[in-house]
């Protein structure tokens, strides 16, 4: 178990270090999310009261789009020099490799979200600071779901032609329930309603989704990685 943890963290640290060094995915992802936030301002009246009702939806669509950029890189990074082969032939079990990569993706996507959140608040005049701790919980749960599905599918599509095109097409329909849950919880929080009451079943949905797909991904990681 100690070794499993060490391998998981080694993989996560490796991915984070290379990404922080090059900032390829991070830069693209942050600028992309700001561009989308800007584009939304043309789709509806940004200063209207209506903004509060769709705030959650807006945010999570931005996060899901930004996530695709990060997730695409996750396994593509291993293709250069056939690094993935070296990882798989090492004693690192599939679940450790998968979890390590998922953790790195989670951190990266959370960074993007934490940058775009204040921008969103300023652009759309949404007050969020007082709700931040709970919002962060929702962000964490939602992002973990995006990352679990995304990392798995990144591994599945890594050797394919059209990898970049394939990933979003496969991943977004799969994430719809998760995004719905995250959107409902976020909207409830931004409207000052808390996570009890109407948002409660959605919070449970988020947790359930995360659990089911984490188990599934870990169980199938060796199947995907070893031919």
């Amino acid at each position: 178990m100690g070794l499993f943890l060490r391998q998981t963290l080694t993989i996560a640290a490796k991915d984070l270090r290379s990404e922080i060094r090059t900032k390829e995915a991070l830069n693209a992802s942050v600028s992309f999310s700001i561009v989308i936030l800007l584009l939304f301002s043309f789709a509806f009246e940004p200063s209207s009261e209506q903004t509060h009702e769709i705030a959650g939806g807006l945010l999570w669509i931005v996060f899901a789009f930004a996530g695709a950029l990060i997730l695409n890189r996750s396994f593509a990074r291993e293709l250069v020099n056939d690094c993935l082969d070296a990882l798989v032939s090492s004693p690192t079990p599939g679940p450790a490799l998968f979890t390590g990569k998922a953790i790195a993706n989670l951190v990266l996507l959370l960074i993007v979200e934490l940058i775009s959140f204040p921008v969103f608040g300023i652009f759309y005049n949404v007050r969020w600071l007082s709700q931040f701790p709970l919002l962060f919980v929702v962000m964490f749960l939602g992002t973990w779901g995006i990352v679990v599905i995304g990392t798995m599918f990144s591994a599945m599509t890594v050797n394919l032609r059209l990898r970049e095109l394939m990933l979003p097409v496969l991943v977004y329909p799969m994430m719809i329930p998760l995004l719905m849950g995250a959107i409902q919880c976020t909207t409830a929080l931004l409207n000052g309603q808390g996570l009890g009451g109407e948002a409660a079943p959605w919070l449970r949905l988020l947790i359930g989704f995360d659990l089911i797909f984490s188990i599934l991904a870990v169980a199938l990681s060796d199947t995907v990685l070893v031919g």
């Binding site: 599945m156 059209l162 394939m166 097409v169 719905m180 849950g181 989704f209 199947t223 031919g227």
Partner: protein
């Protein structure tokens, strides 16, 4: 032999469908509120059941493939998924036609329509993924994993969409669930030939898949020399 059986089965299915059409239009009265368009339900609903069954079998055979590594199960999984997609599409289209008549709009974000659309997208992704992988063995393995993921997603999609809609005003109130026994019987009477057709289509698709694999292998043999 197999071919004759398939032709025979589809013949039976067609005869039964003709008979059902006759009963539907001649024997069964129009529904009081909806009028003649109501009859579309005898296709709309059995087709959806068939599509759901297909999803179930796709997941089952995908798991079986991963356990046995026998490409027969992979062929069954593709066949069932494709046929399921076709029936799902038939469900959507028949639903839209009905909606146009009754609601006056082609598309309503009704929970069932929305869920079916999402499922169609999920399984269309399965076919897209397959088309991008060249090695049949790798294709089977990766596609099986996707199919399992999709299958776990389906119930979550259905339930969450239902919740989502119950919290928002629904575009149309769904009429009471009661149905006359004669209608009810027709629903099942029509499901049988539709299922039969699905079975024939699946068998044909599986055979295609096998032949395709053989051709692919022959091509590789040819490259050896």
């Amino acid at each position: 032999m197999r071919k004759q059986v398939l032709i025979g089965l589809s013949g039976v299915a067609l005869l039964l469908l003709l008979r059902n059409l006759y009963v539907m239009f001649v024997d069964l009265p129009d529904e009081v509120q909806q009028g003649p368009i109501f009859r579309i339900i005898f296709f709309h609903v059995p087709v959806a059941w068939t599509a759901l069954l297909c999803a179930l079998f796709a997941a089952g055979s995908s798991v079986t493939y991963l356990v046995t590594k026998n490409l027969k199960y992979d062929a069954f999984a593709v066949a069932v998924t494709e046929v399921g997609l076709a029936f799902g599409a038939a469900n959507l289209v028949s639903g839209m036609i009905w909606g146009r008549q009754i609601w006056g709009i082609w598309w309503a974000w009704d929970p069932r329509l929305t869920s079916m659309l999402i499922c169609e997208l999920l399984y269309a992704g399965y076919l897209m993924l397959r088309s991008a992988i060249d090695d049949p063995t790798q294709r089977a393995r990766i596609a099986a994993v996707l199919s399992i993921f999709a299958f776990f997603d389906v119930p979550i999609v259905v339930f969450s969409i239902k919740w989502w809609r119950t919290q928002h005003p629904q575009p149309v109130v769904w009429g009471g669930g009661k149905m006359e026994p004669s209608y009810y019987n027709m629903l099942f009477a029509n499901w049988f030939p539709i299922l039969l057709l699905a079975v024939v289509m699946i068998a044909i698709r599986m055979r295609q898949e096998r032949i395709h694999r053989e051709v692919e292998a022959l091509r590789r043999y040819a490259h050896e020399f």
